[in-house]
């Protein structure tokens, strides 16, 4: 949204904001605070967002330590435990999908593989796809959004057109189609990490217009502000204006939207794996486990609830943290 010059003038006259007044209750001298400090203070007060953040960090640690944790508390992901399976129904022996001290999250129907270890490794794939594709979207979106907003003219027309076009696209259908025609392994990577690469490319590519639109809009309004004009009048080149003046002011919205597309990416990755075009079996993925659970959920619901619950918790945690971050960085969004 373009604020226009009047709005900026008004900004200068309304310096003592409500937050500043709150913070000044002590006897401490008034010191200037950067946006980072202000945002951090606000974020710390938001207990829900902090809880979300803690869960996110916990999940990241779990994903990184997956090999260690599965060694200590679980079994290798591809080890079959036929003795845990009821031969007549091919469901796990024991209640709740075979949850026991030995198998913390139970065992997989038919094969008896350890669900706990598969969930850990699933977290690894899920989070790496989500983070890397968010990175790809952010990078492309920022570059194109900046170019469109800053250069204007035909560049803006072309980029905006492409963004509109991509947003009006049957995306999931297309992602499925693309993922299924791309090769299974390349660059000497195993099929697991090649697939991760393909998913990152496809999900990242379809995500960039969301970031691009926001960056473009913000750039359009920042471009007209006095500090840019001042910088230009002092003889700054376009490169300096872009990277020293505009980009630091765009950091907050970019960070917020990058955080908020991560949960969407997790859902998309799981959806693709659920449909059988994501991470190929026998590599573990949450979506893939849900897809296996379709055959068994009426008799062994636990095998569906565990991966589904993991997706839910992860996505919820990211959403809570992202919402909190947005509120902290942009008080107007409240």
């Amino acid at each position: 949204m373009s604020l226009g010059p009047e709005a900026s003038i008004k900004d200068d006259t309304t310096t003592p904001t409500a937050d500043a007044a709150d913070d000044r209750t002590g006897d401490k001298a008034i010191t200037g605070r950067s946006l980072k400090q202000i945002a951090w203070r606000r974020l710390k007060k938001d207990k829900v967002a902090i809880a979300g953040g803690i869960v996110v960090i916990f999940l990241i640690v779990v994903a990184i330590l997956a090999p260690v944790l599965s060694k200590w508390f679980g079994h290798p992901i591809d080890e079959y435990h036929i003795d845990q399976i009821d031969p007549t129904f091919s469901t796990p022996i024991g209640k709740l999908g075979g949850i026991s001290r030995e198998f913390l999250f139970g065992v997989e129907p038919t094969s008896g593989r350890d669900v706990f270890s598969r969930i850990l490794y699933g977290a690894q794939t899920s989070l790496s796809v989500a983070f890397l594709s968010a990175f790809v979207s952010t990078l492309i979106g920022t570059v194109f959004g900046l170019a469109a907003g800053f250069l204007g003219g035909w560049v803006d027309t072309v980029i905006s057109r492409i963004m509109d076009f991509l947003l009006a696209f049957p995306q999931l259908l297309f992602a499925i189609a693309l993922v299924s025609v791309l090769p299974d392994s390349f660059l000497g990577l195993g099929d697991r990490w090649s697939r991760v690469g393909v998913l990152v490319g496809v999900i990242g590519f379809f995500g960039w217009p969301y970031i691009g639109r926001i960056v473009r809009g913000q750039t359009l309004s920042l471009r007209e502000r006095e500090f840019v004009e001042a910088s230009r009048s002092m003889g700054a080149r376009s490169g300096r204006i872009l990277f020293k003046e505009l980009l630091p002011n765009l950091a907050a919205p970019i960070l917020v939207y990058a955080t908020l597309i991560i949960p969407t990416n997790i859902l998309t990755e799981a959806a693709l794996s659920f449909l059988g075009v994501g991470i190929p079996p026998p590599n573990p993925s949450w979506g893939g486990m849900l897809s296996d659970a379709v055959t068994f959920y009426s008799i062994d619901p636990m095998y569906m609830i565990i991966p589904g619950g993991m997706i839910f918790i992860t996505v919820l945690a990211f959403n809570l943290f992202g919402d909190g971050l947005r509120d902290a960085l942009d008080p107007k969004a409240r």
């Binding site: 076009f165 009006a168 259908l173 499925i176 189609a177 799981a270 959806a271 619901p301 919820l316």
Partner: protein, 333 residues
């Protein structure tokens, strides 16, 4: 207004052309790069070289890709004849070709799947609009109350839940555990409206819940913003009853952004709710598309992508037109 409409229609057609061209390109170039032969896909691997060659000529699979694309477009508008000597197959407009796998004509095949997707999407849309908007408005009016907090917590959970989980979970509970709903498959409305309703009830509710969550959040945010506007204060100052202030003044502009989102969501769903259809085993457009993608059945993939994109593009167009009517501040030009 007319000029605007014409320009928008031309834009819509261009978008559809680009979508088909891109789909066409991907599905012809990528198999070429990985070394598989569309003619072989069409006729099956066991056939002898002569019949493969026959199919290749008949379907025009040896033409350059641009020529093939041109023929596809011509078939779409005017129908098309597939011919190899005396063996002629006529495909009337709008022709989307023949399935590689089953040799069925694609257009009637997809038209046959459309009612399933339409029933699913429209039924769910009615539900989620009612659920989402009413809870969103109530939350905004009772901001900070227990109702508000409960609704918003539920909505946040809703946007974090994927349909491929809630779908399985709800059928595990309502079909297998409680036994409230029967097991079974889609029944056409024309066959038995009662069974049609019962069979679609769970897909509707599950799908609608997820969308309702987004709509409740959106409605609440919009309503809160509108309620803070000067004209709402003016309306109150005039001494209007609260019901009139909310119902006539605040709702109208508070709900306009919902129209945009609704158009896009419905458009996207009509093109095939791949996940919902897969979870509930509904044989609609999305299911058809998924099967086609797994079997490399290009004509069907192309057909579904085109229909899906058409729904999105036209939903967008309708939204923009409707927007001009409900929000007088928007000028169409």
């Amino acid at each position: 207004m007319l000029a605007y409409l014409i320009r928008r229609l031309i834009n819509a057609v261009i978008t559809l052309l680009v979508v088909t061209a891109v789909t066409f390109g991907i599905f012809f170039l990528v198999p070429k790069a990985t070394g598989s032969d569309p003619a072989l896909l069409y006729i099956g691997k066991t056939s002898d070289a002569a019949s493969v060659e026959g199919i290749r000529v008949k379907m025009g699979l040896d033409d350059p890709i641009v020529v093939q694309y041109g023929k596809f477009l011509k078939g779409l508008v005017a129908g098309r004849d597939y011919a190899n000597g005396p063996d002629v197959q006529h495909c009337p407009a709008p022709c989307l070709g023949y399935s590689f796998k089953t040799d069925q004509e694609v257009t009637p095949l997809l038209l046959g799947d459309l009612p399933v997707t339409l029933s699913l999407a429209l039924g769910a849309a009615v539900l989620w609009l009612i659920m989402g908007i009413s809870t969103g408005v109530i939350s905004a009016l009772r901001r900070g109350s227990i109702i508000d907090r409960t609704v918003m917590t539920g909505a946040l959970a809703g946007v974090s839940l994927p349909i491929y989980f809630t779908g399985l979970l709800s059928s595990a509970i309502f079909v297998y555990w409680l036994g409230w709903l029967p097991q079974g498959n889609y029944v056409p409305f024309t066959e038995s409206p009662g069974d049609w309703f019962i069979q679609l009830l769970l897909p509707w509710i599950t799908l609608a819940f997820l969308f309702a969550a987004t709509y409740a959040r959106l409605t609440r945010a919009n309503m809160l913003e509108t309620l803070g506007e000067d004209y709402v204060r003016t309306a109150r100052a005039k001494g209007l009853r609260e019901r009139t202030v909310i119902g006539k003044h605040a709702l109208r502009s508070g709900l306009t952004p919902i129209v945009t989102v609704f158009g896009l969501d419905l458009g996207a769903l009509l093109g095939g709710a791949v996940l919902t259809e897969t979870v509930f085993n509904l044989r609609g457009l999305g299911y058809q598309a998924l099967t086609a993608i797994r079997g490399n059945d290009l004509p069907i993939i192309l057909g579904v992508t085109l229909i899906a994109a058409a729904f999105i593009v036209f939903a967008n167009l309708i939204v923009d037109l409707v927007y001009g009517i409900i929000d007088p501040r928007v000028r169409l030009a």
